[in-house]
């Protein structure tokens, strides 16, 4: 290809040069996208930083329910006079930032849960997806009782270019009824907020302009038809209540004015008058709501399993032909066409359908029912007398062998009864098994009582039934109990006496030894397995056929030689395996399915002459997360979990923030060797036994410690501090109910790099006492960022700083 030399562009010099400027040019203006995350800030600085985020859209924390100092993220973008922010944070209350009341009201839309609006007119619930217009001053507040998830738009007169004639007066917050313009506005708001970071400057300007125009129109409409102009606040409240009643009873074909009026104890005529006061009538309103709700269901992937006539029926349309006509009349296309269009769009957005973790549809249905079934049954009782620390003040040593009743497979849970309780300072030996032992049961399971117990699975009896955080009835994919939403065999949990949320648990690895085979034929030798699996980074771009494929390589581990290493023994390609319960696994989609030797073709002489230096470590070290009962063991997060960092081996320690009483420590996913990246999806997975020293650091003792202000797993080795960055540092809090699905869809090294950068900056500023400028200079000159893994859903980038830098520090 012949390229025009840049220098040859004569005549257009200045204009050309403008575009040539280094990436800085795109950032200098005020249009740029600004992400916010609390991870950037020390615990004590978070409220202040959060105040700034709210202030950008004219809000501030309410005095009654201010923001606590937990996890918060926001994406923010502004244009002249327009500021749009999408917020995900913990429960809190907010109010107006200024007392002035000149500009347009602030538009706020809760996007996952309803909120409580408190104002002079009393308390109201604003349902999810509804708009509320908030005056910039006055005495009101909004309380997010669960998580704060909202889109907030602030438009000031600067955006209106003098077209703001006859300012509508808004002294009270107004909840905007759905339908018509309000829906258009809400949808645009939602779509814009989702794409804030990807819109080009020109695109963003255009969208920002439309948003301010729409808001202005909406405000005017409301001002002229509003209760302020005629009806009283009582009427507004009554109307709102009626609308809520209607919302609940849309399925009732006999929803007529007379019955609603009767239920509210008012006359039918008065009911009609209430609607007329806002420029509507009852019949039209009902029809509009029914069509809108049907529209929403038809566009939702979560409702894809319902037929169109089911949906029509659910909203009071007894006749589906009638529904079709009405729908087409309202929205311009038939329900069928609309649904297909939405489905195509949704598929295009999500790209290759990820099979990992919870599908969104299933999560949506899950919320309708309750919970996931019983927590592990048959958990061992506390090993009380022998192990509990007693009056002897000395440190104790404990031993936790591995067997079916002592493991939880594929999930973490705050609800698991502990296997054992230990005291801070105690040591404990924990046996762990690799979930890949079943890749060659003869070498890695047979003759080993512990492994046989855990993997024991016949048609009649499956010793560890639940494998993964999915439903016990396998109603999502039919893979098996727990659906393999999480795969690691975790030994534990171990409760730590007196551990409370806010404390930090130090888990120090004193020793780590491989678990030799107990099979008489190969007794004493050590084996492991590595699978190039469908969740591997390589999977969608094989060079040679068959495409795609999964390959298992069995390794032998030589750990007591001068240079400990692993060598490949043989490999095979995965073939469909029928598990003892009769389910066929065409891919490696459920852990612990025993591979029948006669079902695969073994290739020997693989990786001939290649010796892989060992890096024994535990892929999974976790404390129980606080958010939900069953958490998929695959994506790592603030609680530790599947860190897959080989630096977490003998002599290293990991500091974990305690989230639940007792901490509930679990260990698993033992690895003999892994590279940074864990590219194929697995390491050399090899059962191992670790000896740990467990130290509890109480919250009150944290200040001044390197692990003070900890909101992520911090690894310490003899020479370095290793900080763990993730695409989504706390995906459970960030995505809320969708977390266990979204985290697989939205991972990126670019996001993980950002997180690692912010954590390292915080560490250098708060632990090492540097200024921000010093911290950034040091990060450039001396901090190494590396790829931890690109296969665990929540991708990881770590930042390493050598302790040697600070050896002269006082």
């Amino acid at each position: 290809m012949e390229l025009r030399p840049v220098a040859a562009a004569k005549g257009e010099g200045a204009c050309m040069a403008q575009r040539l400027l280094r990436s800085s040019s795109t950032w200098v203006d005020a249009m740029s996208f600004r992400p916010f995350t609390s991870e950037s800030y020390a615990q004590g600085d978070r409220p202040e930083a959060w105040r700034d985020v709210l202030a950008a859209v004219g809000l501030q924390p309410a005095t009654s329910n201010p923001f606590y100092d937990g996890h918060a993220t926001a994406s923010h973008r502004q244009a002249p006079g327009v500021a749009l922010t999408r917020i995900a944070a913990g429960a809190q209350g907010i109010g107006p930032a200024s007392q002035a009341n000149g500009d347009l009201p602030i538009a706020l839309m809760p996007i996952e849960d309803g909120v409580v609006l408190r104002s002079g007119a009393g308390h109201r619930i604003v349902p999810v997806g509804h708009l509320v217009l908030l005056p910039r001053g006055g005495d009101w507040n909004i309380v997010f009782q669960r998580d704060m998830r909202a889109i907030v738009l602030s438009v000031t007169s600067e955006a209106l270019h003098g077209r703001f004639s006859g300012k509508p007066r808004f002294s009270e917050p107004r909840v905007v009824a759905s339908g018509g313009l309000a829906d258009v506005f809400a949808r645009l708001l939602d779509a814009t907020a989702r794409t804030l970071d990807t819109l080009g400057d020109g695109e963003w300007t255009a969208v920002a302009q439309s948003l301010s125009d729409l808001l202005l129109t909406l405000v005017h409409q409301l001002a002229t038809s509003s209760p302020d102009a005629g009806s009283s606040a009582t009427q507004a409240a009554l109307l709102h209540r009626i609308c809520q009643t209607i919302e609940r009873r849309l399925d009732d074909p006999a929803l007529v004015p007379a019955r609603v009026a009767q239920a509210e104890g008012i006359s039918e005529r008065y009911l009609q008058k209430l609607f007329e006061a806002v420029g509507d009538n009852f019949t039209h309103y009902i029809r509009e709501r029914r069509l809108q709700r049907a529209w929403a269901d038809l566009s939702s992937p979560a409702e894809a399993h319902r037929s169109i006539s089911d949906i029509a029926y659910a909203y009071g349309f007894g006749d589906s032909a009638h529904f079709s006509r009405a729908f087409r009349h309202r929205f311009g296309l038939s329900p069928r066409e609309f649904r297909q269009q939405e489905a195509e769009r949704s598929t295009a957005q999500h790209g290759v359908a990820g099979q990992r973790g919870w599908p969104q549809e299933a999560l949506a249905q899950l919320r309708v029912h309750h919970g996931l079934g019983d927590i592990r049954t048959g958990a061992a009782r506390l090993d009380g007398e022998t192990n509990l620390p007693d009056m002897a003040a000395g440190r104790k040593h404990h031993h936790l062998p591995v067997e079916a009743a002592r493991v939880h497979w594929g999930y973490f849970s705050r609800s698991l009864p502990p296997q054992i309780e230990i005291a801070s300072g105690d040591t404990i030996t924990i046996e762990t098994l690799t979930q890949h032992a079943s890749d060659d049961p003869e070498l890695m399971i047979d003759g080993d009582a512990g492994a046989e117990s855990v993997f024991g699975w016949t048609r009649e009896q499956k010793n560890v039934d639940r494998r993964g955080a999915g439903p016990m009835d396998a109603s999502v994919y039919g893979r098996g109990a727990g659906e393999g939403f999480g795969v690691h065999i975790c030994t534990g949990p171990v409760a730590v006496k007196d551990a409370q949320p806010g404390d930090v648990l130090e888990v120090r690895i004193l020793d780590i030894v491989p678990r030799p085979s107990r099979n008489a034929r190969v007794a004493g030798r050590v084996f492991g397995s590595s699978v190039a699996a469908w969740w591997g980074y390589h999977y969608d771009e094989f060079l040679a056929g068959p495409k795609p494929r999964e390959a298992v390589t069995i390794y032998e581990i030589f750990d007591d030689v001068a240079t400990p290493h692993a060598r490949a023994v043989y490999s095979y390609r995965w073939e469909p395996q029928t598990d003892p319960s009769g389910v066929v696994h065409t891919t490696y989609d459920y852990p612990g399915v025993p591979v029948r030797p006669d079902s695969v073709k073994r290739r020997h002489a693989v990786l001939d002459g290649i010796r892989i230096p060992l890096r024994p470590h535990f892929g999974v070290i976790a404390v129980a997360p606080r958010e939900v009962d069953f958490v998929d063991s695959v994506p790592p997060s603030y609680f530790g979990g599947n860190l897959d960092n080989w630096r977490l081996g003998k002599g290293a320690a990991v500091y974990l923030p305690v989230s639940v009483p007792g901490a509930l420590l679990s260990v698993g996913d033992p690895h003999a060797a892994q590279g940074d990246g864990e590219l194929s999806g697995t390491a050399i997975e090899c059962s191992m036994t670790g000896t740990f020293e467990v130290i509890l650091h109480k919250k009150a003792d944290l200040p001044g410690q390197p692990f003070a202000d900890l909101s992520y797993p911090l690894i310490e080795t003899e020479t370095d501090w290793v900080l763990t960055g993730f695409s989504h540092p706390n995906y459970l809090a960030e995505f809320g109910a969708q977390g266990q699905s979204e985290v697989y869809a939205k991972s990126s090294l670019d996001l993980a790099m950002k997180d690692a950068f912010r954590k390292m900056r915080r560490f250098l500023m708060n632990v090492k006492g540097l200024s921000e400028d010093e911290a950034i200079a040091l990060m450039s000159a001396a901090v190494d960022f590396g790829v931890t893994q690109v296969v665990d859903g929540n991708w990881g980038v770590h930042a390493i700083i050598s302790k040697r830098l600070f050896q002269d520090a006082p």
């Binding site: 290809m1 390229l3 030399p5 840049v6 220098a7 004569k10 010099g13 040069a17 575009r19 040539l20 400027l21 280094r22 990436s23 800085s24 950032w27 950037s40 930083a49 590595s530 190039a532 591997g536 980074y537 390589h538 771009e541 094989f542 060079l543 390589t553 240079t563 490949a568 490999s571 990786l607 002459g609 892989i612 230096p613 060797a673 990246g677 590219l679 194929s680 999806g681 670019d750 790099m753 950068f757 200024s771 921000e772 400028d773 010093e774 950034i776 200079a777 040091l778 990060m779 450039s780 000159a781 001396a782 190494d784 960022f785 590396g786 830098l805 600070f806 002269d808 520090a809 006082p810």
Partner: protein, 413 residues
Amino acid sequence: MRHHTLQVSPKTVHWGYFSKKVAPALTLRSGDRATIETLTHHANDDYERMIAGDPGAESVFHWTRENKAVARRGSGPIEGPFIRGAGEGVGVHLLTGPVAIEGAEPGDILEVRILDVRPRPSCSACHAGRCFGSNVAANWGFHYHDLIEEPKPREVVTIFELDTSGDPFAKAVYNYVWTPQTDPDGIVHSSIDYPGVRVDHATIKKRENILTSVKVPARLHFGTMGLAPSEADFVSSIPPSYTGGNIDDWRIGKGARMYYPVAVPGAYFSVGDPHAAQGDSELGGTAIETSLTGDFEFILHKKADLAGTSLEGLSHPMLETDQAWSVYGFTYPNYLAELGADAQTEIANHSSLDRAMRDAFRKLRRFLMTVHRLSEDEAISLMSVGADFGVTQVVDANWGVHGTIRKNIFRCD
């Protein structure tokens, strides 16, 4: 074998670009060695410490209203009116060379061995014999739009001193926030947008006692080394690409062997952007930028001789050290060819580690399959359990991820 010397002067450097059109500063044969001086383009951040009294540096940085010794800085326009200056700062590195290799043809591979690297001591009266460098947290840094302290945004220059008495390390001397600087032609640089503008120390506020008791271990290396690409006559020195360039890997220091695909006759090797220390990612936008002198050996591997060697099929830069092989993945492996006519501007809008990781994976897979004769399944298993991927840089528009495989993996018993 002959040993050549290439000192810095306005005639032996080109500033901010690679070019197949620049006359070679030196021509040599495969097997020859050369001592090559390089200057950091950040020397003017502290003229007194890094330029004053140094004839080479003074001659290159010389810039008065009447005379600008090296006028073109960057691959941008060289006819005014200018926004920033000739070349418009599209590319910033002071590069020494080019060094032409006799007989080099497209398709060959040039091996460059770094035999030694030495810092360039200050010649100024007050600081003679001591070595200094500058680190800039600049507008192209990864942190720039994510600052938490005021004022936002800001650019900060930190001056370091390099101590080579024992295990070499760098210590910060002072820092300052960038203030608008007026160059001799009267253009005001309100941010760091053009290289070699002398900072008037009367306009800045020095802050001392910074990074006290922090010692940064030295990693002397050359941030930018590579050959002239064939696609365009003048190519910005900022984005690294298939002929190397601004790779910014601190492992490219003493003992390293770099391999580059030759794209133009004579290869046209240039070197610059010397660094005293840098972390993987070069987060703030620069390393500790310090003038260095290197001893190099050049070996030309002819296309016909590559089969069966570790260079077979090589179409990108590769590093060999005593311990490991590294391949370099970029957001766009050859952005000049992939992004078309506006490549040099477009590339900054596409920076992504995700694409760079993808590229590094593909390059390492190819290396293992071609050179080590592994099957694809073997290569993928080995990469998962024995190869390390790291972030090279996130500040050079074409972001980098390197894939490293240790040599001792292949040692048979």
